[in-house]
């Protein structure tokens, strides 16, 4: 088995790529069914292969497998390093791989139903297969170069898929915004890589880890500010993670990514791509461990997002936007875990979140299909009796999201809250308050959306449950949302399976929160004594009163609290601010540079002006040559006189 790891990885990588290429270039030669069969089958196979890899790592107990596939280029004797493409198979990458391939496979199946009849059907499958390839490339990387290739690859796939319906103005604006915001964060990321490279001389993970103390021991001066290299490195690559994982203030692209098809929102903008930043921080945890400043920054930014993004979700009426803001909030939770050095907990939440958030998105998609592409929740209600399977699966998903025991979200989120409580890093108290209040907020917006969509006494015509390709993925994900926390809790946290990729924290929050664990029942039992448990119930109760018992109450309250309401409804004004600062001012700046500096000063005045002046001088001089002897004679007399005067005065 071990000897074939490279081949397996290669197969995992290339199957989706080739299927994307085949579907992409086949054009009219391929049937609709052919397109989804090839891509779905190949992603399905990669799921099986990923499970095989997981088995060899977890059960057969292989140690970390690190291999270079081929070198991008090497320096020979000119420079002593080479850039590789290769694989690093360890617990972290395997866990991610299984999750990505599973969700991707389910989304492929789901899309067969969701996208049926769309004119870009084949293009869609080519894109998501390509996305899956890029995500594998990112996860399997054993060096930053390959990570970055995959990183941008998923960005491109996301860009193409958000703008999939390219006739829709909002979709192509959203895709452009997503790409540009991500590029702004890549700007920091690439500088971080350059900084690492200038100290370590390589981008291979293992070499970087081996030299991490060299980074820690150097200081850079920016004027009077001294900053250690490792802190700068961590802040820069976290800046990169902030774009992909949509942390404030670079989160603005994620809500607008909802203009893409819903399966994409589930796959890319909830389960996989947006968690790439979290994954990368976990991957680089040996570096982050050495910089308390960076950890604090992560903690504070994550906690702020966890609470304040959740608040926005309460006022959104578009069903997908609610789930999108919920994703922003949950990504904040994951970052809080990272900031408290409980990396394993963060990854654990990443996995459980992938299951229940994909479920909620796909459930929302099912509702949207049933409602004939209506996304406004105020026009829904009472869907419970029309869509029983969607209803029950979404119910499970909601329970998992609000983290009631024993659903998946409970295990991971409870651990994050405990980690924030136990941590002693700067900002931990603030983070603890945020995540605690966040639990209340989560419960409110989740059940608000749930009641608005499924309950109430609205009658619909011609609304029925979509076919089995849509409902089966829902049921599978619902099942996972119930059990995945229970299954993975002990192997991941208590036995700390991820210990090896994620070096034992100096700030050992994980041990302190797991040391008291003595079985699942007592663990669930302790939940009843925690603040978060009761806050969650309070939130559900509020949602129940406002959106189930007295549906007129929300309008009344929002009118009373119109200031707060409008702040939230405008998403704290980030969009407007960015529009003014970046979009308008760069166009203005560009206009000035073009019209005044380039066209007027340089081209017209200097360049053409030079021509004009030459021309003028020529004309002027040509006047001297009149051909009249009398003129020449007078010039001569003046000249000789001046010459005489000069000679005499000398």
């Amino acid at each position: 088995m071990f000897g074939h790891l490279t081949e397996i990885c290669l197969a995992i990588l290339l199957l989706p790529l080739f299927s994307a290429i085949i579907v992409g270039i086949s054009g009219r030669n391929m049937t609709i069914a052919g397109a989804h069969r090839i891509t779905t089958l190949s992603v399905g196979v990669t799921f099986i292969l990923s499970v095989l890899l997981a088995k060899s790592i977890f059960i057969d107990d292989f140690s970390t497998y690190n291999v270079n596939l081929y070198s991008w280029f090497s320096g020979r004797d000119i420079f002593p390093f080479a850039f590789h493409l290769g694989f690093m198979i360890d617990e972290l990458s395997v866990v991610m791989l299984v999750m990505v391939s599973l969700i991707s496979f389910l989304v492929h199946v789901y899309s067969i139903g969701y996208m049926s009849g769309d004119e870009g059907y084949k293009r869609f499958f080519a894109y998501i297969a390509f996305f899956t390839f890029a995500m594998y490339l990112l996860v399997l990387a054993n060096n930053f170069l390959q990570l970055f290739i995959g990183w941008e690859g998923v960005g491109v796939a996301s860009y193409l898929l958000i703008g999939f319906w390219f006739k829709k103005e909002s979709a192509i604006n959203g895709s452009l915004k997503a790409f540009l915001v991500n590029r702004v964060s890549d700007f920091g990321f690439i500088l971080g890589l350059a900084l690492i490279f200038s100290y370590v001389g390589s981008l291979d993970y293992q070499i970087i880890f081996a030299n991490k103390l060299r980074l820690a021991n150097h200081i850079i001066n920016f004027g009077s500010i001294e900053i250690s290299v490792i802190t700068l490195v961590c802040l820069l690559i976290f800046w990169g993670a902030m774009g992909k994982s949509a942390q404030m203030p670079l989160h603005v692209w994620l809500p607008e990514s909802m203009e893409g098809p819903t399966p994409i929102s589930a796959l890319i903008h909830a389960a996989t791509m947006v968690t790439a930043g979290v994954f990368m921080v976990a991957r680089m945890s040996p570096l982050f461990e050495l910089s308390e400043v960076a950890l604090s920054v992560i903690l504070i930014i994550g906690a702020t997002g966890a609470l304040f993004m959740g608040l926005i979700a309460i006022v959104m009426n578009d069903i997908k936007r609610v789930v999108a803001y919920s994703t922003l909030s949950q990504l904040g939770y994951m970052m809080v875990a990272m900031g408290t050095s409980a990396y394993t907990v963060g990854i654990f939440h990443l996995i459980t979140h992938a299951c229940f958030k994909a479920l909620l998105f796909l459930g929302a998609g099912s509702v949207i299909v049933a409602m004939h592409h209506e996304q406004d929740m105020t026009k829904m209600g009472g869907l419970r009796k029309y869509l029983p399977i969607t209803y029950w699966t979404c119910f499970i998903g909601s329970l998992a999201l609000v983290a009631l025991p024993p659903f998946a979200g409970f295990y991971s989120k409870d651990m994050i809250i405990q980690a924030a409580k136990a941590s002693n890093i700067f900002g931990a108290e603030y983070a603890y308050c945020c995540v605690l209040l966040g639990a209340l907020v989560t419960a409110i917006y989740t059940f608000r959306a749930f009641f608005m969509t499924f309950h109430g006494k609205v009658e619909h015509e011609n609304v029925q449950e979509p076919g089995f390709v849509i409902t089966v993925p829902l049921i599978i994900l619902a099942f996972l949302s119930i059990v995945i926390g229970f299954i993975l809790f002990e192997p991941m946290l208590i036995n700390n399976l991820l210990k090896e990729p994620i070096v034992t924290p100096l700030h050992n929050t994980l041990d302190s929160i797991t040391s008291s664990f003595n079985g699942h029942l007592p663990f669930i039992g302790h939940a009843f004594g925690t603040k978060v448990f009761w806050l969650t119930w309070l939130g559900i109760l509020i949602a129940f009163i406002f959106y189930y018992l007295y549906p007129n109450l929300p309008t009344f309250v929002s009118n009373r609290l119109s200031l707060i309401y409008s702040i939230l409804n405008n998403k704290y004004g980030f969009d407007t601010l960015y529009e003014i600062i970046f979009v308008r001012s760069s166009k203005f700046f560009g206009d000035i540079l073009t019209k005044i500096v380039d066209n007027l000063i340089i081209d017209f005045t200097l360049v053409d002006g030079l021509g004009v002046v030459t021309n003028k001088i020529g004309r002027l001089l040509s006047k001297l040559q009149t051909g009249l002897v009398s003129h020449y004679l007078s010039f001569m007399i003046v000249g000789t006189t001046l010459l005489f005067i000069w000679v005499i005065l000398r």
Partner: protein
């Protein structure tokens, strides 16, 4: 060596061009096919050049010498090293692709057009393989003539103004360049370029020579602020002319820096390193903003070219900020600069071709009049997307490789240089993708856009060839990077040694 490959690569297209010109009006000769055949043969020959090139040492290869005016050391001397061989291959490839892609877009004086293209190709190979300064200069100036004709005859709009501006601007720069060459030749008793490298020069003459070189090269690249001829030339040139102009002609300037300024006057380069780097950064950042607000597709891509060329000059002069340091970081930046040039050849060529395809069909390049091309030209749009992403420097395309190398290297020289250089990540994305969005996406704006025919035949072949190069270099740049190593090492050791006695 049996065949003088370089001479063949120069004279086969030139003579072929003369032949095409002379058979222009005879019906039996299909000049398009003849030209394509000739340029295809040169592509094959350039591949054989690559395969025979010995990578293990830096010495000049495929050398040819014919005596011309031996008394003053002016000879017909050719040769390539690991740097120039890449450009020779790029020229042959791009000319072939251009002839394919503009198969149907030139309607009058076809044989004259093809002849100009072929002659230009031969002259360009001459520029990049000359080892004698005077021969270099002759080829260098001669390239202006076919390009001047291509813009002036087959151009559009204000073509005469553009052609004259192009000619006078670049010719002006070269006059001082020639003066510097003559000075060097006279004190050296020969015009052999390699022997210039071992010439000892005092600091003041170095400064003068540097400035004379600078004017010639900076206008050609073009660097800010002597760049304003390029948008005019590109806008009015026919698609094929724009492709060759962007893909190859611009590289002559940077090649001049590599061949002349860096090794001959290293102390002056060192002295001027900071101003040059600042001009490069201005080109990268300032020009990106200018590109953002252009309404003419070709102007936009022309400005994008200037911005990318900023990276090239940055990579060339970064090495002087790391004067004492080991060779590795310097080599990374310099090789990165060369990779950008090669990759930009493919990418800007592809983008200009794409605009040409649109122009052939709709007779407009104005972004405001275009919208929703993806509806009727899906294949074109997919390829154009790839090239747009490559222009942005997305990893996995050739555009990324060089920029990445230069940024890594810049960081070791100075953090702030890297900071401004890296801003291209989002600036280039902004102008390229915003353009793409407005032109390709959306609802088809007019009936003529609805009725567009997708690319087919030769156009498609040209795009496939370019796409192949872009992706191949993106995922496996080793073949074109590693061939440079020994030559770059040699160049760096010359450029790091003071010439002052």
């Amino acid at each position: 060596m049996d065949i003088p490959l370089l001479s063949v690569l120069i004279w086969l297209p030139i003579l072929g061009g003369v032949f095409v010109l002379s058979t222009g009006n005879i019906k039996q000769f299909d000049n398009r096919k003849i030209s394509m055949l000739i340029s295809f043969i040169t592509v094959l020959l350039s591949l054989s050049l690559y395969s025979q090139y010995e990578q293990s040492h830096h010495l000049w290869q495929f050398k040819e010498i014919l005596q011309w005016i031996p008394r003053v050391g002016i000879n017909y001397e050719l040769g390539v090293d690991g740097i120039s061989i890449l450009f020779v291959m790029l020229i042959c490839f791009m000319t072939f692709v251009t002839i394919l892609a503009t198969w149907n877009s030139i309607n009058h004086s076809v044989s004259q057009y093809l002849a100009s293209m072929l002659i230009l190709q031969g002259l360009l190979v001459g520029v990049f393989s000359s080892l004698n300064a005077i021969l270099f200069y002759i080829f260098w100036e001669a390239t202006l003539i076919p390009m001047y004709l291509i813009i002036g005859i087959w151009g559009s709009g204000n073509k005469i103004y553009a052609a004259q501006k192009f000619f006078i601007f670049t010719f002006f720069g070269s006059a001082l360049f020639l003066a510097a060459l003559i000075y060097l030749g006279v004190i050296n008793n020969t015009f052999n370029m390699i022997s210039f490298y071992s010439l000892k020069l005092e600091f003041f003459p170095q400064l003068i020579i540097f400035i004379a070189f600078l004017l010639g090269f900076a206008i050609k690249i073009p660097m800010w602020p002597v760049h304003t001829w390029l948008p005019h030339a590109h806008t009015e040139a026919p698609a094929g002319g724009s492709v060759i102009l962007a893909a190859v002609l611009l590289k002559m300037g940077a090649y001049g820096f590599l061949r002349f300024s860096l090794p001959i006057v290293p102390d002056a380069c060192n002295f001027f390193a900071w101003p040059m780097i600042i001009l490069s950064l201005i080109a990268i950042v300032y020009i990106a903003f200018v590109a953002l607000v252009q309404n003419d597709l070709k102007r936009l891509i022309a400005y994008s070219s200037i911005s990318h060329m900023g990276f090239v000059t940055l990579g060339c002069f970064l090495i002087f900020l790391m004067y004492g340091e080991s060779i590795s970081a310097k080599a990374l930046g310099l090789e990165g600069a060369i990779i950008i040039m090669i990759s930009h050849g493919f990418i800007s060529g592809a983008l200009f071709l794409g605009v040409g395809f649109i122009y052939d069909r709709l007779h407009t390049r104005s972004i405001k009049e275009l919208q929703g091309i993806a509806n009727s030209m899906p294949i074109f749009s997919s390829f154009f997307m790839l090239f747009a992403l490559a222009n942005i420097g997305v990893p996995g395309t050739s555009g990324f490789v060089g920029e990445f190398m230069v940024i890594l290297s810049a960081f070791q020289a100075n953090v702030w240089i890297a900071f401004f250089a890296a801003s291209t990540l989002f600036l280039s994305a902004a102008y390229t993708l915003w353009m793409y969005k407005r032109v390709i996406f959306g609802v088809a704006k007019s009936d003529s856009i609805v009725a567009l025919a997708d690319i087919h035949g030769m156009e498609l072949v040209a795009f496939i060839l370019l796409a192949f190069m872009v992706i191949w270099i993106g995922f496996y740049p080793a073949p074109i990077i590693e061939i440079m190593h020994t030559s770059i090492g040699n160049l760096l050791s010359i450029a790091s040694t003071s010439k002052i006695v």
